[in-house]
Symmetry: C2
Subunit: 297 residues, 2 copies
């Protein structure tokens, strides 16, 4: 099933930050209310000492976030190219070292002409970055047509309910402090048994949470084919694109979706289920892959 093929050989720190702090607030009755709030910290990514980006993050999974960001931005093709990911909160930075730099004292990027490619990619990002939409538009839209998702992934009403129930029971920062989005990667067993949570990540930006899951999958060597992705956030174009890149054929959300999220999911062949709350959900795309649904009344 969705077992790790191999765990990448990578020197990783394990520097998660405390995720909440408590501040004092005054409520409508004039009472002082100690209130837990979610952390938000700048984390600057360096690849072979080259500064790439500053992400604002909860800091719960900074190493996976850095890896997943590199992966989803397609700045590094294989995790095997990387030797180390080292987070230092003193300086708010994460140093990612490629194997070339470590082994030969020369940056992979400089040697292979990928410095130019990186320049081009970072340069393009300048004009394709949207406020609140992350950094993936221009280029990725073009690459979507090359993505082929498995069209034999089935999902049933029972498995949808199982994912919802597992997420509901999961301990979360959101329950304590709000102001974060959660993402869960779940199994989607082919033998009819119920999905379970493989990985659950929360962050102040939903894009960070999905990137941190992408990084974890990369590290574990887990593909997306036999998984279901759940998010508390909205299914916008960027969420659909990122999940497609991760090879995940089934998307669920507690929230709604946008027109472009809907259009892309239909085009790529993603089964998309929104408004998952209580015993309610709405199946938006991929009904031909939804099994054991009740007959239309």
């Amino acid at each position: 099933m969705t077992r790790p093929i191999r765990v990448a050989q990578l020197a990783l720190t394990d520097h998660a930050r405390p995720v909440t702090t408590t501040v004092d607030a005054i409520d409508e009755t004039g009472r002082s209310v100690p209130t837990p709030i979610a952390g938000e910290h700048p984390l600057t990514l360096y690849l072979d000492r080259r500064e790439l980006v500053t992400l604002m993050t909860l800091g719960a999974a900074p190493e996976h976030l850095a890896l997943g960001w590199l992966r989803n931005q397609r700045l590094v093709e294989s995790i095997d190219e990387l030797a180390a990911v080292q987070v230092d909160w003193e300086t708010g930075s994460v140093a990612i070292t490629s194997r070339s730099l470590r082994d030969e004292g020369t940056a992979l990027w400089a040697r292979s002409g990928r410095e130019a490619a990186l320049d081009a990619t970072l340069g393009r990002r300048t004009v394709t970055t949207g406020c609140g939409q992350g950094t993936v538009y221009g280029d990725l839209m073009q690459s979507l047509d090359t993505i082929r998702l498995p069209q034999d992934a089935r999902v049933s009403q029972a498995s949808v309910y199982a994912v919802m129930e597992q997420v509901r029971r999961h301990e979360s920062i959101y329950k304590i402090a709000g102001a974060v989005h959660g993402c869960a990667l779940c199994t989607n067993p082919r033998d009819g048994s119920m999905p379970t949570i493989l990985r659950f990540v929360e962050d102040v930006g939903r894009h960070n949470a999905v990137d941190a899951i992408a990084g974890w999958m990369w590290l574990q060597g887990i593909g997306g084919a036999d998984t279901i992705f759940y998010t508390t956030g909205r299914l916008t174009s960027e969420m659909v694109i990122k999940c497609a890149q991760m090879g995940i054929p089934v998307l669920m959300s507690r929230s709604g979706l946008t027109g472009m999220g809907h259009e892309l999911a239909a085009r790529i062949g993603i089964t998309m289920i929104g408004r998952c709350q209580g015993r309610h959900y709405l199946l938006f795309t991929g009904r031909e892959r939804f099994v054991d649904a009740p007959p239309a009344p």
Copy 2:
């Protein structure tokens, strides 16, 4: 009070898009449910024919969004430098023309050496852009210390409730389709009368909604001193920074806040009120400017 000082002389299109479309979904009982969903469209900004950025937007206020983005990115200092903002959905673009280009056939930026400044700004953005966090980190953090907000802006429990009630009664895309964030700019009268909504904007990204309000304020010549800003979204560092840039001393949110949002609001002198739901709210910062609060029990 918060009356327009002057409306900028600017040639504007008025090309709002239809904000929702209806798609067919299947619910948990197998029933087909026509479901309105929010639009999401790429809009590429060009300043004097130079490509700047692609924003994913609902498209309800594209001209104001373009203006506010330029303003909040501090790429244009005064709206008087601009001659035209023209949205064309056929090409998904908005052409912003500076007065220099229109009047003299030469781009302001090229003539005045600001082409280089623009290069530097766009270049810096490359390394300071966060997924889901918009494009404002690095630079803006440094500029925060130069922002002086009026410290005489008072807010009362009655005015907090008045804002909440006005927003609750406002017609919104959110009620129809979800998947959007709303922002409202409200008056904050000094004579003790109740706040009213000056402008209400929804968008698929909360950063877009706040930018669209910034653009509208710019166009109307309205400063932030006598206003209250309400958002359905979380009060992250970036939301606090943008509102500080707009000169708004009071922030309210239906949602929670992050640690950095809290820290910045306290440092800049913003009165921040979160978790506004029903008759409940939490005053996080600026209690010395909160008047008529009930005495502590």
